[in-house]
């Protein structure tokens, strides 16, 4: 009992048992570190146009460019070092994924719990809106909003939030509705404690497990949505390529043997998304008592 006296510690002890998820977690953590320290670990700043030389464009992996260092993964059509561009691209992808994930988590959870707690007309209004929105594909909604709002990080995050908050609202609503009827909530209300205290200290913490699961999945989804939008040319400015745009940049050269421009950013994106999803799967399994051994 002494080694497992908090829910968090028990959670971690169980998480460690799944080696695949553990490796995925390490990989994701590593990628986040690379993204955070992109400016330190990258041989080149790919966003500084003065650093780029068109003479170095579309060079294969291992080419020693005008900067005097080896382009380990080759260069892209603008002469950027691909490895550096991937690190910086990861930074953008993770930034946007996390920001969109947390903002949608906050908004969606607030709406979901509000609907479940207040009930009546507000409940009907919020939940029908959510239902309506879930009937559209998220990518379609995000496309329309980005097209309306224009380019930029904030606009992109806004579009992703609008496309994704509904998943959180739905999950939070279901969880809060179930928890609302339990004795401990009734006991808190019978003390009596204020609505704010009951929601913040009792309802919300008990609704968190399913929301954390949705959050991990939705962060991965945000990242791939952002990559999709960028690939379609609707994301960020061309001077600051994210992973999606790097893939898009290399796409015309795929058939001419210059595979690396698209493939390496693609591999980075896949590793990141698969990593997050593996971690998310394990978290989901641990929160689902029916899957427990």
């Amino acid at each position: 009992m002494s080694t497992a006296n908090t829910p968090l510690r028990r959670f971690w002890a169980e998480f460690r048992e799944n080696k695949v998820a553990l490796v995925a977690l390490v990989v994701v953590a590593l990628m986040i570190l690379l993204a955070v320290f992109a400016s330190v670990v990258s041989p080149q700043n790919p966003y500084d146009l003065a650093n780029l030389s068109l003479m170095d464009s579309r060079r294969p992996p291992g080419f020693v460019g005008s900067g005097g260092y080896t382009h380990i993964l080759g260069t892209d059509p603008q002469g950027r070092d691909l490895l550096s561009a991937i690190f910086y691209g990861l930074r953008i992808s993770i930034q946007i994924g996390l920001a969109a994930g947390f903002v949608s988590l906050t908004i969606g959870t607030t709406l979901g719990i509000l609907a479940a707690y207040v009930g009546g007309r507000i409940e009907a209004l919020i939940m029908r809106l959510v239902d309506l929105q879930l009937s559209f594909p998220a990518i379609l909604l995000a496309l329309v909003i980005v097209a309306l709002l224009g380019q930029g990080k904030a606009q992109l995050i806004g579009a992703l939030v609008v496309a994704q908050y509904a998943y959180f609202a739905r999950t939070a609503y279901g969880a809060a509705k179930a928890e609302r009827g339990k004795d401990y909530v009734e006991a808190a209300l019978a003390t009596p404690l204020s609505t704010r205290l009951v929601v913040m200290r009792h309802l919300l913490p008990n609704c968190m497990p399913p929301l954390i699961v949705v959050a991990t999945v939705q962060i991965a989804n945000s990242i791939s949505l952002e990559a999709t939008l960028s690939f379609l040319g609707l994301g960020l400015p061309v001077t600051e390529p994210s992973l999606g745009m790097l893939i898009s940049n290399g796409f015309p050269y795929m058939m001419s043997g210059r595979y690396w421009i698209s493939v390496y950013p693609g591999v980075a994106l896949i590793i990141l998304i698969v990593g997050i999803n593996l971690v998310g799967d394990q978290v989901r399994d641990q929160f689902n008592p029916r899957l427990r051994k």
Binding site: N5, Y184, A190, T191, P192, R201, H202, N206
Partner: protein
């Protein structure tokens, strides 16, 4: 002693929670249940200070709902509940901390994600009975009073046994320094061996803290053990009310008598055969209670008047009341065997 808790003509209806679609369907003549369940029906009760009132009845008779009405968890549909002259709830919100509740299931009534110490201290902190900095000592004091080791305050509910959890729940209720404690089947989900400990704890604490107590249970022997007076409920109504020893010695309502008759005995007389007098028939649906006396379809003493006229609550003696047309006859031919309900859970 004067009236402390006054429950005056209280009713609680549970209407079906219809969605908009169902409401439309009901208007168009669809097969939608629109009737309300009368869980508690025109109940009037008074409890004196320091008294323990037992509330007893079958499952679904409304005893828990009545408890929740008194506790201020549910607002009554009509009628008033006054504690020391002031209402427990105003506009659907509980406005007093003087009534606290101990729930039936300690596995459900404690927040699984909160340390038990915080569960006990949050109410008193929110209501200024202690401060954040003094909370530790305050909680430790209540932990000791309910027989828990104060070093356990940092544990989570899942690390406790059922009996320990119920002690935490009792500490939570008492830490609010209530005058009235509502105990909603507080031992029904516990092992028999633990039940006795918890009951003893209750008796000790209600005595020490001079608590007024409403004790809800379906266990007759338990009610007999803990209460001063007992109220017997059937289908949302109180059918008999009186001092516990008098009601147990000679019940005035046929339903009470039948309840006593159906209790299994732990100790049999030398040549006694095991025999339970079960109550004939089913409890009628509270959606459509029978006309007249609610008990008449199952009552052995029922006559024509029972099927047509709702019996008024009548005074049997100074402290006793009963809602039966034939209570005099019931009392007159009391079979002494029926009244000697055993005490299966006798603590100490």
């Amino acid at each position: 002693m004067s009236v402390f808790l006054n429950i005056d003509n209280v009713s609680r209806l549970f209407g079906p929670n219809l969605s908009t679609g169902e409401k439309i369907a009901a208007k168009l003549g669809g097969n939608v249940e629109t009737r309300a369940v009368r869980a508690v029906s025109e109940v009037s009760l008074t409890v004196r200070r320091g008294e323990t009132l037992g509330l007893v009845g079958e499952s679904g008779c409304g005893k828990s709902t009545l408890g929740r009405l008194i506790a201020g968890i549910l607002p009554p549909t009509s009628g008033s509940i006054l504690l020391d002259g002031t209402p427990v709830m105003v506009d659907g919100r509980k406005v007093t901390t003087r009534v606290q509740t101990v729930f039936q299931d300690p596995f459900a009534s404690l927040d699984p994600r909160m340390k038990v110490g915080d569960t006990v201290s949050e109410g008193p902190i929110a209501h200024g009975l202690t401060t954040k900095s003094d909370a530790q000592g305050y909680v430790a004091n209540w932990f000791e009073r309910v027989g828990l080791d104060p070093v356990w305050v940092d544990r989570y509910p899942h690390q406790f046994s059922g009996g320990q959890r119920q002690r935490v729940a009792i500490a939570r209720a008492l830490a609010m320094q209530p005058d009235v404690l509502i105990c909603d089947e507080p031992v029904a989900s516990l092992d028999v061996s633990i039940q006795a400990q918890i009951i003893n704890l209750f008796l000790e604490l209600t005595c020490d803290l001079d608590l007024t107590c409403v004790f809800i249970s379906h266990d007759l022997s338990l009610i007999r053990h803990v209460s001063d007076r007992v109220a017997v409920m059937y289908l949302g109504r109180i059918v008999e009310l009186g001092p516990v020893d008098q009601v147990f010695a000679a019940s005035a309502h046929p339903y009470t008598a039948a309840l006593f008759g159906s209790v299994p005995k732990l100790v049999l007389d030398a040549d006694e055969l095991v025999h339970f007098d079960t109550i004939e028939g089913e409890v009628p649906s509270p959606l459509s209670p029978p006309p007249g006396c609610y008990y008449h379809p199952r009552c052995p003493c029922a006559t024509d008047i029972c099927a047509t006229t709702q019996p008024e609550t009548q005074t049997v003696s100074e402290l006793r009341a009963v809602a039966c047309h034939h209570f005099k006859a019931v009392l007159a031919d009391k079979d002494p065997d029926l009244t000697s309900a055993s005490t299966s859970v006798s603590a100490r």
